[in-house]
Symmetry: D2
């Protein structure tokens, strides 16, 4: 059994990790930490876990965490980087679900996150955790920085186009929308049911923290010789709990390509990426609670602009499921181990 | 592997059966029928099944069904009874999720369902499928009539009180509420999103078809010597997809009993019934997609009236999960096989 | 024009008051207070008010409030009682939407609200603001304590039965359910969209603060000679924004009465109480944003137990609409002035 | 009083018209038709109208309709055009909420709507009903074809940019999303609560019927000398009842313009168009049940692409409110008569 530790288990990515690890045949959660809730049984906070987890939240302890084979960080940004050097020194390996080690350009990180980076010397070592792009590098990594939720949906959607150099790099638009669980389990007026329900809005149109992460990822995917990808990214809030839907637009430079075939071939061997038949529209509910990304590609009226629709569950493929997929790779297990469950529909 | 057939797979209990059977280690779905959708791949209708089921809907064929070890009926009432005699003659065993064989009093069934019963001779043989009450009888049954959704939540809630004879039989009230999936996947104006959302109502207050089934079940549970249980049952429609919440009221005849202890002891060995600590209120989301029933018992202000709150997922413990639990018993498997997954929360 | 002041305008009853007063032909809002948001334009916090209210929140000032004809308190309990004596001394009249002056038994209030009452000498003077019961007393009151949301739905539902002495006083049950706006606009984890959505639960089953208010009201309605009404009251949380649905149960002492006629006659002259035809089930959406209470009465299977279903919008008839109705009475206006708008459906 | 007739009152635009006309001081609804529901009281189908409308649905009768001053068509496409010539001959004036007379290019209409146009000779006379663009022409029109819901939100959003010639005509993208009421009140499986709730999807990405209407409108707005506007339009379905949110993208040809000022000036005299302060994001709930359009404009990271966010209530400004606004203009009333009510929030 893989000995697993979780730092910061009181949020939605924490309870999702526990749900997924409960159905994983080789994982054994040994410790889950929370300073604020130390001593509280996890199943008291999340009653869906009753009967399955007897653990209580513990104060983080490097020694205890260091005794694990894998430690997940399901914390707000800033926490993982503060503990990382000491923790890695114990020899454990880390899968960080937070934004701390995703961006390689440290001043860029510091600008968007508004604070000094506490472990800049580890940023270079961190592997970006999006298996469909970076599988090999993950295998032997000590520290993996899992891709964010919007970045996963957007990058998997643009990937075949950018790899093939088929679109104008400055024409990229990602009109994305997320369910509310993406905002976390924190007491904020604007995430109250009575504020979110039966409404829809954009937010952060002038710059969301996931933009630099996505642009970094898109540029890494591009062919070397082009202009660097530039993205307009407008996120929206959907009155629903789970799911991200990214609607992507780009101007084609080659109008002769068979887009459907391109996507099907690129993802033929990717278990978690499902390219829908031509003419389809993916629904977020078809991936709810599962680790799949479903994608459809269209070219409206045969004009010169491609539209890609990409859906994931932000808590699963966009966070905790992706983290388990990464753990499987790091441990030499089949990637889908413990992640084969189907979406809950309806 | 258990060879499984499903009659009527285009509804919500059908897709839920497929989801659950996909994660069952010993079940192999060999045929799924629908006259109306014959030839359509199930994964086209329910894209969450993509990559997992290659089956297409088939026209029901007794021979093909008869070659299965177990046949589930996930059909509206009237369908199972019309095929049952011929199907049982093949030697297969049947788990019927519909209401066709639940009520032992045939004229009563005919009154509430407004039609002649097509197989009255089989009603006596049918075993009522609520494992927590009827486990032994299920083991060798040829035909099991699974308990309905409201009846499951209400009976499990009243069970300890009635077994112990602690409440006045004519004081029983079940104020129950269900998510919309209970109404099935049929085009009806009053189940449109724009009709149901952001609203709440009672329905069928003057008599719901589940009432005679529940009263039959409650009377079977009662001690032999009392007045027969009489229930006021008012169902309500909740703007949500899955879940039933039953709030039960009864007048105590013995005020000295420790209700919390009574419930905990009664369900100590029932894997799927979870009695919450005193003072708790079960939330339907803690059982979403899982086969658990969560129950809390209270005695407001110490007065003479007991309140029981009981929640299930109407599609899982209230239908398809219960059916798989029944199948496990019939096949001699541990009851929880394939049913251990935790609820999706949030 | 009636000069109106509002104390505490940052909650949902505050914005609802402003919405209703904006369409009132004789009301002019002169001041709206909030210590925490002083200086912030109300239309910045609630953009639906843009173009209609130029007011900014002001620090409460007795002189400024005292210059108004009517002052509404849309505050948490405890605030109104602290300011009341001083404010009434200015000669203004007060409509208090909070719970401060609803309960006449001061120790009872103090027990349920967990604090010392700050103006016990004013409690006796306060008129309970439920026009359908207390219209005459309201006319000349200086201080009206508006009925709470659950209490309004429950009292209007039981009223005809209790006035006529038709039910056993100890058999009363109110199974009520409310939309989320009833919990106010405060940052609480358990009111987040991701916590409330797609779920249903009871709460406060062992005693909700509205219980003593309701029991006081029911007893005031009863014929003098009977046992005092005793209520089992279990509230539930509905995943919707606005609306209360009360399902009421009682045991009949007279089985010969025509319940439908009783209700229709009792409410024939009440503009805001609408008795539905026999066999109906009121939906909360039919009163959304309106000041109506819709009621249906049933007697399931002709048995000896009556079921009443009563719906209101908790923010309108359950709070701010009721307050405007009270203001109209106090000002000698037709009760429905400014309150005739129909519910938003769908 | 204006004598009003409504053809086709059983849908959501029908009940919304009735709600708005109930609060209109000068309108008197004399007849409302439905073949299928003839004889059924409108308040039985829509209980929010109880006590306010005694009308029953009537079979359409030209004479009776012709006696009205204004007849609204709230019908599916194809109905209005079949009755129009005969009805106009009576001398009444018509406000058509359907798509029958919106598109001036008859073959284009026939292609997108898949049927022969029944009154091609009247298309030229019909005035496109979007007051902010076409107010003068509406005044004396006999037949006004109200702008559609998506077209209203998109055109009002792009209007200032196109009038001023500030964007590349082939760079226009409208990523729009609508609540479910836009699909009408028809029994369709894919509009069931259990299908729509807690999910999000695009639809009709390869061509929605509103696309030709929007492109026609945008081209009419453009300066005469440029390339004709070409729009990529992808609609999405939001799990909510009312509201449209359009997120518009275009490439600027002039980067020096003050976009905020441009929008504020363009709409300074438009009562129903509210330009939000810079940095804002309009929420659909701030216009729910009201006739307002709220707009914000942004230029993310100061790059060369403008983003406009435009929200309306699809049933009000997107349909019935717009129709009443048009009626007011036709009758010489102030445009906002009966339409001043504020959005229901929360």
């Amino acid at each position: 059994m893989i000995k697993v530790g979780i730092v910061g288990g009181t949020g939605y990515t924490g309870v999702e990790l526990l749900r997924l690890l409960a159905q994983h045949p080789h994982a054994d959660v040994q410790v889950i930490t929370s300073r604020g809730e130390a001593g509280v049984p996890v199943a008291q906070m999340f009653p869906n876990l009753r009967g399955r987890f007897d653990l209580a939240f513990a104060v983080p302890d490097i020694k205890q965490l260091g005794a694990c084979d894998i430690v997940f960080f399901a914390t707000p940004h800033g926490v993982a980087q503060a503990m990382m050097a000491e923790l890695l020194a114990t020899g454990t390996r880390v899968v960080d679900l937070s934004a701390d080690f995703r961006i390689r350009d440290i001043p860029l990180w510091e600008k968007w996150y508004g604070q000094k980076h506490a472990s800049p010397e580890l940023v270079g070592e961190a592997v970006y955790g999006l298996a469909e792009v970076n599988r090999e590098a993950v295998k032997n990594a000590r520290l993996v920085a899992c891709a964010g939720c919007y970045p996963t949906a957007v990058q998997l959607g643009f990937l075949p186009l950018l790899e093939a150099g088929l679109v104008k790099p400055d024409s990229l638009i990602a009109n994305a929308a997320s369910g509310v669980s993406g905002a976390g389990r924190q007491a904020k007026v604007d995430m109250l049911y009575a504020e979110v329900s039966d409404s829809f809005k954009a937010y952060a149109s002038n710059g969301h923290r996931h933009l630099p992460e996505i642009e970094q990822g898109l540029r890494a995917i591009q062919k070397a010789d082009g202009e660097p990808a530039e993205l307009t990214f407008v996120p929206h809030l959907i009155p629903m709990v789970r799911g991200i839907h990214a609607t992507l637009y780009a101007d084609l430079v080659d109008e002769t390509v068979d887009l459907q075939k391109l996507y099907e071939q690129r993802y033929a061997d990717e278990y978690f990426v499902d390219v829908l038949p031509a003419g389809s529209h993916p629904e977020t509910r078809t991936v709810k609670g599962s680790n799949f990304c479903r994608i459809a590609v269209a070219r409206p009226l045969g004009r010169n602009r491609v539209v890609v629709m990409s859906v994931i569950d932000n808590l699963t493929k966009g966070a905790s499921g992706q983290a388990v997929q990464i753990m499987n790779i790091m441990q030499g297990l089949p990637e889908k181990t413990g992640l084969e469950n189907l979406a809950l529909l309806p």
